[in-house]
């Protein structure tokens, strides 16, 4: 794990750190909000339950009051009918309607549908046997039946809206027990007022339904008959509470039963504000979270770039240095630490460059010194030999030859002395060698001839000064056959494949292959040997041109010997 962490780039680790931090922050916010939301939910639930309880208690009190009245009336019915005093019973009914203003009518109807006693002097509805409250009371005799809201219907031409409490009762006709139905018509205005006594919020309302899921009453004006969403919700919940959407409003609905009745009541309490606030908070929370995430990523990537961008510049610069470029400088802007690092880096690469330059110069100086030393080895040796030859000419009174020899010598030396530079044009070197050969011809009394075959185009190429002369010297030394007059020394110059070749060809005994090997290894070694001239040239070639340059010996026994100097073209200025 730690290793994997170490493998991460700066950018990733910054991002992950911030992400983890944001994550913790978000989770703790969500948790605390969850807590608040849960509390809010519980509060909504308990508050609506309390309101629902209040509403139901209002109705239960109201209805149990009616049941109480009915129970009292039942006692009186037994008493008065046992006494056969039906007049008294009717008076009692009237009295009841007078005391309890909500009660509009009270009547006792025999099971056959005949009016036994009534608070109102009316003719009974001939269809009484088919009226629902009458039938229901007879069907379940031991309970009070509560009808839905309807127009007075126990007599004809009723006008007022009532609900009817009906109950099967026992009464006596001539001391014989018989059964009938006690009915009490109750004005609905109080019933409706009860619904409005509790604040259910805007558009909050109640729905009361019968056991058969028929709407008895709804305080919502939009709800009538079977077309009532509230009633559907009531039916769906059955019993208990739940949050529902009602006409795009959040309502907390509680469904309960009303005691002593077969009714269910649903209270619709408007909790839209709380719920929508909750949703609002949630949306904001998500928004804040997303914004935080975006901002975090942006900031982290910005910081990452501020750190890694100069780092990358530094890195690519280091690659340059690896390739040997010490010249360019790193220019980074950014965090203080990084610019300091870059400055230190520049200082370091400067210092390295200075050190390298110094080493290079020292090396170069050393090479030059060595080079000049090698070059200087040639002149005294040659001068000695030539002067020796001139002495011998003079002894033999060959004054003409002495003269031409001295002229050649002076030309030879003017050239080698006058020019301080290490490089000369090929034509000058050729001229130099010609003078040399002239001097040697005098010395060797014209025992050889020489010739030049130099391509015109290479005449102006630079070559190492005094490089050709030692080879030619070698050719004279080993190539001239004492018996053979006019042996030939041929010097060829040409360019091929980006190399400059100069061949020195001489007729002679030739050299065996083994000897050539020997010479090759000799000139490449550091030991002092007899072939000082060739070795000198070889070393200078290598010093000057590097490995590409070479000195090659070719020979055929009794035929010829050829020394080829091979130099790369286009490197004249490097020393």
């Amino acid at each position: 794990m730690i290793k994997r962490l170490n493998d991460l780039s700066i950018g990733k680790s910054i991002f992950i750190t911030i992400l983890i931090f944001t994550g913790f922050l978000t989770i703790s916010t969500i948790l605390s909000n969850q807590l608040i939301f849960d509390r809010a939910d519980r509060l909504i639930e308990s508050t609506s339950k309390e309101i629902n309880k209040q509403v139901i208690m209002n109705y239960e009190n109201y209805l149990s009051n009616m049941i109480g009245i009915s129970n009292s009336l039942q006692e009186y019915i037994v008493d008065t009918t046992q006494a056969n005093d039906f007049e008294e019973l009717s008076r009692l009914f009237v009295l009841t309607t007078n005391i309890e203003k909500n009660i509009l009518n009270v009547a006792l109807i025999s099971d056959d549908g005949l009016l036994v006693a009534s608070s109102a002097d009316v003719k009974i509805n001939p269809n009484i046997l088919d009226i629902e409250w009458f039938l229901e009371a007879k069907k379940t005799p031991d309970i009070h039946h509560f009808s839905g809201l309807h127009t007075e219907n126990f007599f004809m031409l009723g006008k007022k809206e009532v609900f009817t409490v009906s109950k099967s009762v026992q009464y006596f006709v001539n001391n014989v027990a018989t059964r009938g139905v006690l009915m009490i018509d109750i004005d609905t205005s109080n019933f409706k007022t009860l619904a409005q006594q509790t604040n259910l919020g805007e558009k909050g309302h109640i729905v009361i339904s019968s056991q058969a899921e028929k709407v008895i009453y709804s305080s919502d004006p939009l709800c009538y008959g079977d077309d009532c969403t509230s009633a559907d919700i009531l039916k769906d919940i059955g019993l208990g509470g739940r949050l529902v959407k009602w006409n795009n409003l959040n309502m907390y609905v509680n469904v309960n039963t009303i005691r002593d009745t077969r009714w269910k009541i649903a209270t619709f309490i408007n909790v839209n504000e709380i719920v929508s606030t909750k949703a609002d908070i949630l949306i904001r929370l998500i928004l804040i979270f997303v914004l935080t995430l975006i901002t975090t990523s942006l900031i982290s990537s910005y910081f990452t770039r501020r750190i890694t961008l100069p780092m990358n510049t530094l890195k690519s610069h280091i690659t340059l240095i690896e390739k040997g470029d010490f010249e360019s400088k790193v220019h980074v802007s950014g965090l203080k630490e990084v610019t300091l690092l870059a400055e230190a880096f520049n200082t370091m690469s400067n210092r390295i460059r200075e050190l390298m330059d110094k080493v290079f110069t020292e090396q170069n100086e050393k090479r030059k010194t060595q080079f000049i030393a090698l070059q200087n080895q040639i002149n005294p040796h040659f001068l000695y030999n030539t002067l020796d030859s001139i002495v011998s000419l003079s002894e033999n009174n060959r004054n003409k030859d002495v003269e031409s020899a001295i002229i050649a010598l002076s030309k030879f030396f003017r050239m080698s002395i006058s020019n301080e530079m290490n490089l000369v044009e090929l034509k000058d070197e050729i001229e130099h060698v010609r003078n040399y050969l002239l001097i040697q011809q005098i010395r060797y009394q014209n025992t050889f001839v020489f010739d030049f075959e130099i391509d015109e185009e290479i005449l102006h190429h630079k070559v190492i000064k005094l490089s050709l002369q030692p080879i030619v010297e070698n050719a004279i030394l080993h190539g001239i056959h004492p018996d053979d007059e006019y042996s030939t020394i041929l010097i060829k110059g040409y360019a091929k494949d980006n190399f400059l070749y100069i061949e020195v060809f001489n007729e002679g005994y030739g050299i065996s292959k083994e000897r050539i090997q020997e010479i090759h290894s000799m000139i490449q070694s550091n030991q002092n040997t007899s072939s000082m001239g060739l070795k000198n040239v070889y070393q200078r070639l290598k010093l000057y041109y590097g490995d590409q340059a070479d000195l090659i010996l070719e020979s055929e026994l009794d035929e010829y010997t050829k020394v080829i100097m091979k130099m790369p073209l286009g490197m004249e200025e490097s020393l």
């Binding site: 969500i30 139901i56 009915s70 129970n71 037994v78 379940t140 031991d142 056991q211 009303i258």
Partner: protein, 335 residues
């Protein structure tokens, strides 16, 4: 996160209840009879499941809430003593949706409501039977010969002059007991003259208060006092004791029915005070509601239903596949 909490709750829940919990709802903790009954249910061996009692404080709204919660907790079986027997249909509808078995007791739901759901049962005592046994007590008292009443027919007119204390007007049991006790006597050939039916709402104090006026009218003519329950009977006896209708002349704390003044009073329920009263000779007799046996039957039925055993082998008789009637017992000094 919510899911995580639910899982944790589930685990906690799982740890704490390795066996099934059966919620028991009683309508009111202030009703001595129901409270005693609840203790009896709890004291039945509960190795198969745990009974957890909820007290509904005589409010159907509270009970609805508690039952709704129980439905949410997905208990397979509920034992309910409803507050309002008429509201039971809503509970049955809800139970149908979740296929929950319900055993009702003490307050009998409407037959049509119970019939609407095959997993609803009722364990209780038949009010008619209590009246029948009460009538039988009265017959025993009067010598079991309707044509030839014994010495308790004080005026020897061959008719029993009776005073009735009725429970709540309109209450199912009050109506049934009042109706059936007279009916049974009449059917058996006894002539009964009901001097008065007074409503005392099952209450000892109300009965005590009403007794004054009744004695004014019927002190001499009254041959029998029938009460729908023991409490009212005891209230009436208390007052009659003060008015010396009962008189412990030899002060031995016991009424000697041969030598000391007394009036036969019969109650129903068999509460402890009533049994004490019988022992001291005041209360003639009562009909005992066998709550001990009823508690046993409820637990046994719950066990069978939870184990989904066939009820055809159930050791108690099941009427109409729904009702288990627990018999009342007559209680007098003799029995």
């Amino acid at each position: 996160m919510k899911r995580f909490i639910i899982i944790v709750l589930f685990m906690l829940n799982g740890c704490s209840s390795p066996i099934e919990t059966v919620p028991l709802f009683i309508y009111d903790g202030n009703d001595a009879y129901i409270k005693e009954f609840e203790r009896k249910i709890q004291s039945v061996d509960q190795s198969d499941f745990l009974i957890k009692t909820y007290v509904s404080q005589n409010s159907q709204i509270i009970q609805n809430e508690q039952i709704d919660q129980a439905f949410k907790e997905k208990h397979p079986l509920l034992i309910i003593n409803p507050v309002d027997r008429l509201s039971v249909y809503a509970i049955i509808e809800k139970a149908k949706q979740s296929n929950t078995t319900i055993i009702f007791f003490n307050r009998e739901p409407l037959a049509s409501d119970l019939a609407a759901y095959d997993k609803a049962f009722y364990v209780g005592a038949d009010a008619a039977q209590s009246a029948e046994l009460q009538a039988s007590l009265i017959m025993d008292l009067f010598g079991n010969d309707p044509k030839n009443l014994n010495q308790f027919d004080k005026n020897h007119d061959g008719i029993i002059q009776a005073l009735i204390f009725k429970g709540e007007q309109g209450h199912q049991d009050a109506e049934a007991r009042t109706k059936f006790v007279i009916e049974r006597l009449t059917v058996a050939g006894y002539q009964v003259e009901v001097l008065d039916i007074v409503i005392a709402n099952w209450d000892r104090d109300i009965a005590y208060g009403l007794m004054d006026g009744l004695l004014d009218d019927y002190r001499e003519s009254m041959e029998l006092l029938i009460s729908n329950n023991d409490a009212m009977a005891l209230g009436a006896i208390q007052r009659m004791k003060e008015k010396l209708v009962f008189e412990d002349t030899n002060k031995n704390g016991v009424i000697d029915r041969e030598s000391e003044p007394w009036v036969p009073v019969v109650g129903i329920d068999g509460i402890t005070a009533a049994i004490d009263s019988i022992k001291s000779g005041y209360l003639y007799g009562t009909v005992k509601n066998d709550s001990q046996n009823m508690a046993l039957i409820i637990i046994e039925l719950a066990k069978w239903l939870l184990e989904e055993k066939s009820l055809t082998d159930f050791p108690y008789e099941i009427t109409n596949g729904k009702y288990v009637w627990v018999n009342y017992q007559k209680m007098t000094l003799d029995e």
